[in-house]
Each structure stands twice: as structure tokens, then as C-alpha cells.
């Protein structure tokens, strides 16, 4: 394994992308999904990433979240280059330091709300009573205390996304990555969810959110525009 690169110069930066590229092979041709991206995100920032579909937003987000490896370049999470870590270390980073929120909620259909929220804590080996206690507290915070024992298919879209937010917070991560979190919700519910993100940001969480709703993007403190795999603004 190559030696880990440790970055010391950007103290406040929690995420740094350097010369990041992602290429896919599509039959004969090679598609450049993300190209030469350089970006620094500070602790406590609320960043919206916008751009048309196919602009590489999700690809970039997946690499930042250690779900995918870059073809070239480095990603530093709190100074650690995550491009050169073993899969088990990556799993640990995903579990402890990053909270994922998906457009399609991605709850486990066979588990009820409490169990879904407690799931990330299982992988961190947290004892059952502690997990349940914390899951209930988090569900309470997202105002779902009356829905704790319902299965995902018994919940509305907004409720499901709130369960997903509670799950993302389970291991108290520094960074929340949200890929079109309001994409499957009506505008009113979307706004509620957005307010929750702003509240979390106030509490000090770094939030990176992909959206194509300009109204939502406006609420973020910083907007990054992507086009054809490159940052244009």
C-alpha cells in the first residue's frame, strides 16, 4: 500500500479534492465523468452542488463519500488521503465520519424506523441498549416519535427521508452528504427537509448537497456549479 499522504496546510478544510478525475469505459470509448476537479470545503460549510444531469455531480459525491474510487487525483478527508485506504478502513470512514442521505431514501424495507436508524451503530459495534436509546432520541429530534415501530412502506416520503436523516446522524458524523434529498418529495415537504439541513448546519455539521432546485440551492451558503465534469463556478 502506498504511503498515506497527510495534508497539514489547510487547517480548517475538512474535504479537499486535488486533480480529481473519474473515467468510465463505455464500450470502445472512454467517458470523462469528472475531470481535473480541485476543491476545498471547510468545516461547518453548507455547500450546494448544482448542474444539469450528466454533469458529474453524483460521481463526484460518490468519490467524496468513499463509495467509489477516483481514476486519478486525491481526496483528503480531514487530512487523510482516502484514495489509498483498504476497503475495511473505507467502510469505517463511511460509517463514522460521513452520513449519507439518498434521493430514494434507501431504508432497509424489512426493518422498522428504530432499527433502520440503529443499523449504522450495529456496524460500529455499539451495544444494543445504547443503539436503541440513541435511535429513539434521533427519531424524536426529527419529530417521528409516533412512527418508531413502523416499517418504511408504512411511512410517507417525507417521513422516510426524516428516518434517513436520523440514520445519517446515528454515529454523529462531521460530514453529511445528500444526493438530491428532496428530489422525490413535494415542495412543501422538501422545504421541511431543507430546514432540517439548515438546522444541522447551525449545529456545526458540514453539509454537501446535490440539487437541481435553484430555490433550495440559494439557501446554501456556497453553490458550486458543475458542467461536463468540471467546476464552472
Amino acid at each position: 500500500m502506498p504511503k498515506l499522504k497527510i495534508q497539514k496546510n489547510h487547517v480548517d478544510e475538512i474535504i479537499r479534492l486535488e486533480n480529481l478525475c473519474k473515467r468510465y469505459r463505455m464500450g470502445e470509448s472512454v467517458v470523462q465523468a469528472v475531470c481535473e476537479v480541485n476543491l476545498g470545503i471547510n468545516k461547518g460549510e453548507f455547500v450546494a452542488i448544482v448542474g444539469p444531469s450528466g454533469s458529474g455531480k453524483s460521481t463526484m459525491m460518490n468519490m467524496v463519500g468513499a463509495l467509489d474510487l477516483a481514476s486519478q487525483g486525491d481526496i483528503f478527508l480531514d487530512g487523510i488521503d482516502i484514495e489509498h485506504l483498504a476497503e475495511s478502513r473505507l467502510a469505517q470512514i463511511r460509517g463514522r465520519r460521513i452520513g449519507f442521505i439518498f434521493q430514494t431514501f434507501n431504508l432497509i424495507p424489512t426493518l422498522n424506523a428504530v432499527e433502520n436508524v440503529a443499523l449504522p451503530m450495529i456496524f460500529q459495534g455499539i451495544p444494543r441498549w445504547k443503539r436503541i436509546e440513541r435511535a429513539k432520541k434521533l427519531l424524536n429530534e426529527v419529530k417521528l416519535s409516533h412512527r418508531m415501530y413502523h416499517l418504511p412502506n408504512e411511512l410517507s416520503g417525507g417521513e422516510r427521508q426524516r428516518v434517513a436523516i436520523a440514520r445519517a446522524l446515528a454515529n454523529d458524523p462531521e460530514v453529511i452528504l445528500a444526493d438530491e434529498p428532496t428530489g422525490n418529495l413535494d415542495s412543501k415537504t422538501g422545504e421541511e427537509i431543507m430546514n432540517m439541513f439548515m438546522e444541522l448546519n447551525k449545529q456545526g455539521k458540514t453539509i454537501i448537497m446535490i440539487t437541481h432546485d435553484p430555490n433550495l440551492a440559494k439557501k446554501a451558503r456556497r453553490v458550486i456549479k458543475l458542467k461536463d465534469g468540471k467546476i464552472i463556478k
Binding site: N62, G65, L67, D68, E87, S88, A91, Q92, R94, G95, R96, F100, F102, N106, L107, I108, P109, T110, L111, L119, P120, I122, F123, Q124, G125, R128, R167, A168, A170, N171
Partner: protein, 406 residues
């Protein structure tokens, strides 16, 4: 943590009810077949070896070569006699010899008649007790014979309860054997040996008088050895002595010396072959059950790709995913194994009960073998795990980003 994975796997099985049932059915049938067939095979072995229980391991039987079918010894051209008995008695290590007769007689009772085996009981108390003990002879009603019970007989259970005579023969009844009247003093308890169930026992003197058998004629001789370790040596010695007396060469004897181990050994070989065939058939159905589990796990992995991706995104390591899926397939094996083993036992119980009722004897003994039960369940669990290994490994190796795309 494993406990939590168990509940995740369990939930997933519950959610996909129909498919889980069908998968379970596959392994259930396999295990039920294995358990019932092995259990019935064991029953057959128990029943057959039960027939040989009338001979304990320290006993030998000497008889002359036969000319045809009939009770042992009765069709020999040259009968064994007192001279042979004397020779055998003098062989080193022999502590008792019992001359035996076994013949057919006509039995009349309640104006009906039929044929039955009759055998003699030695009159010396020591030898009589030995026969009672070694052939597991006990009475269901009445009492056993003693050396002074002239004109009295013991009846095997199946004779007494036979429907041939229109009514059951009871203690105190008089029966007619070859035209001569005998009093029944005891009915034997039902035995696992059909020989014991179908025989009339009477004193040696009575039998010789009744059938006009010369005083020194013997059908076969039961020889009791000093210890069961010496049975083989004594068998060789008896053969040598008789050969020398009759002036015969090795391999040209007109008599046989049978040890219980020889007889059992031959039968066990046959039973083992039957068992192997039967287990082979059952193993095929188990294999199919295992393939069913593997198939289910493959579809499950495909279907739950997104779930796998999500779990990886929220911190599941490859090993965690592997465990969750292996546990699920192991559970299929375990549950299929437990229910299948239970059903297999029930099946073998039903089959043995029907067989025994039909044949009116203990053809198939039913006994619960815990080793078999636990072994079958563990084996099924293992099959479940093995069948799930490759699909689970594939699930665990999925790249999170690919898995999330579903």
C-alpha cells in the same frame, strides 16, 4: 453483533415468505428423507440383530451339514450324537454344551389344527436357566417350565394369540400335539425374535417320547464358551477335534460351527450395503435442497443489491455483508433441518408402525437416535452455509457505488 445480524437475516426471510417457504421445503424434503431412511435402516438392523439375540456372544452352534430345508439339523444325513457331544464337552474352554432338537409338530386346539415348531428344554436347572436367559425367554402369563414339568409346555406369543384356533390359547388350556395332550403352563412374552414367538417349549424327555426320537439324536448343539474372546479359538478347536474324529480333511467337513459374530457379520455387510444405497438416494435430495438454497441466495443478492449498497454506505464492512448473507442461508439450512428431521422421525414411526401391524411382528424397530437427529440438523445447517457462501461472497465484494445503483 452476530445476534443483530441474525435478526436482520431473519427479518429478510420473513419478508419474502413464499420464496422462503419453497426454499425451506427443498431442504426439508432432503433432510426428512435422510432421517426417515436412515432411521428405518437402523430399525431394520435392530430388528434383524434382534433375531440373533437368542444367541449371546459367548455361544457357538454346532450342527451337521444339511440336505435340504427344514429346522436346523433336522435334515442332516448323519445326525449329531452323544459321542460328538462328549468330544465337544472335552474341548478346552467349553464350559457347557446343550443338545438341542427342533422339529415340526401338529397342534390341535379347539377343533382346529396347524403345524408348529417344538424345541426341547434341557432338564438340568443350570442349562435350562442358560437357555431362558440367553434366548430372553420370559412369560407374559403363567410360569416358566422347571425340570419336573412332565406333560407341560410353554407357548410362543404368536402361537397363543394365533387366529387359527378360533380363540386364544390361555394358561391352563390343554392342547394336543401329535395326538398327545399337553397342559399350557405359560405363554411367552412377545419377543423381538420371531423364532421365540413361534415355538413350543417342552422338556427333553417329553419331546423324545412324543416324536420317537432316539435317545442320543441331536439336531444341533449349543456350546457355551468360557469367554466371548475365546469363541473363535474354541470354534477352531471344535472343528479340529470333529475332523479328526470323523477322519475328514480341512474344507471337507460335513458339519458347521457357527459363531454369532459370523452370522451377524454377514448380515451387517448386507445391511451396510442397503444403508449406503439408501443414504445415497437421500443425499441426492439433500444436494437438490442445497442447490435450492444457493439459488434463493443468488436471487436474494441480486434483489437486495441496493440494500447491500446502502449498508455499505452506512458503514458495513465486506465481512459484515458476508456474515448477514451466510447467516440467512445457514438459517434456511437450520430451520429446514429441524423441521425435516422432526418430520423424518414421524415418517419412520408411521412406516414402522404400519409394517409391524401388517406383519404382526417387530419387522422394523422404531427408535430415536439423537446422534442421527443432531447430526442431520448440523449437516443441514452446514449445507445451508456452504450453499450460501458463493452468493454471499459476491454480495460482500460488490462495489458500493455499483450496488447502490441496484
Amino acid at each position: 453483533m452476530l445476534k443483530d445480524f441474525f435478526s436482520i437475516s431473519w427479518n429478510s426471510m420473513k419478508k419474502r415468505k413464499l420464496r422462503s417457504w419453497l426454499t425451506l421445503l427443498g431442504i426439508f424434503i432432503g433432510i426428512a428423507a435422510v432421517v426417515s431412511l436412515i432411521s428405518l435402516g437402523d430399525g431394520l438392523r435392530t430388528a434383524i440383530t434382534g433375531q440373533f439375540n437368542s444367541l449371546s456372544a459367548d455361544t457357538l452352534i454346532v450342527q451337521n451339514a444339511e440336505t435340504g430345508f427344514g429346522p436346523p439339523g433336522s435334515t442332516a444325513i448323519k445326525k449329531l450324537n452323544e459321542h460328538d457331544l462328549k468330544l465337544i464337552e472335552d474341548v478346552n474352554g467349553v464350559i457347557m454344551t446343550i443338545p438341542k432338537l427342533l422339529r415340526m409338530v401338529k397342534l390341535d386346539f379347539n377343533k382346529a389344527s396347524s403345524f408348529s415348531y417344538v424345541t426341547n428344554l434341557p432338564e438340568e436347572k443350570e442349562k435350562m436357566d442358560f437357555i431362558y436367559e440367553n434366548m430372553n425367554i420370559e412369560t407374559e402369563s403363567g410360569r416358566l417350565l422347571t425340570g419336573t414339568d412332565k406333560g407341560k409346555v410353554l407357548l410362543g406369543n404368536d402361537i397363543a394369540n394365533s387366529e387359527t384356533y378360533g380363540k386364544k390359547i390361555k394358561v391352563g388350556n390343554k392342547i394336543t400335539l401329535q395326538g398327545k395332550e399337553f397342559e399350557v403352563v405359560g405363554i411367552l412374552a412377545k419377543s423381538s425374535s420371531f423364532q421365540t414367538n413361534l415355538v413350543i417349549l417342552m422338556l427333553d424327555r417329553d419331546m423324545k417320547d412324543l416324536l420317537d426320537i432316539p435317545k442320543d439324536e441331536i439336531d444341533f448343539i449349543i456350546v457355551r464358551a468360557e469367554s466371548k474372546d475365546k469363541v473363535e479359538t474354541i470354534s477352531e478347536n471344535i472343528k479340529r477335534v470333529l475332523r479328526k474324529d470323523r477322519n475328514e480333511k480341512l474344507g471337507e467337513e460335513d458339519f458347521t460351527v457357527q459363531t454369532p459374530l459370523q452370522a451377524l457379520g454377514a448380515i451387517n455387510t448386507i445391511l451396510n450395503i442397503i444403508n449406503i444405497v439408501v443414504i445415497g438416494i437421500a443425499a441426492i435430495s439433500l444436494l437438490i435442497g442445497g442447490i435450492g438454497i444457493a439459488n434463493t441466495m443468488y436471487t436474494s443478492v441480486l434483489e437486495r443489491k441496493k440494500e447491500i449498497g446502502t449498508m455499505k454506505a452506512i458503514g458495513a464492512k465486506n465481512a459484515d455483508i458476508l456474515k448477514i448473507f451466510v447467516i440467512e442461508s445457514g438459517l434456511f439450512g437450520l430451520i429446514g433441518g429441524i423441521t425435516g428431521a422432526g418430520f423424518g422421525l414421524l415418517l419412520s414411526y408411521i412406516v414402522s408402525t404400519i409394517a409391524n401391524n401388517y406383519f404382526g411382528e417387530t419387522i422394523l424397530a422404531f427408535n430415536i437416535s439423537w446422534t442421527l437427529l443432531i447430526g442431520a440438523i448440523l449437516f443441514s445447517f452446514l449445507i445451508g452455509i456452504l450453499a450460501g457462501l458463493i452468493p454471499s461472497y459476491r454480495a460482500s465484494k460488490l462495489k458500493p457505488v455499483d450496488a447502490l445503483r441496484g
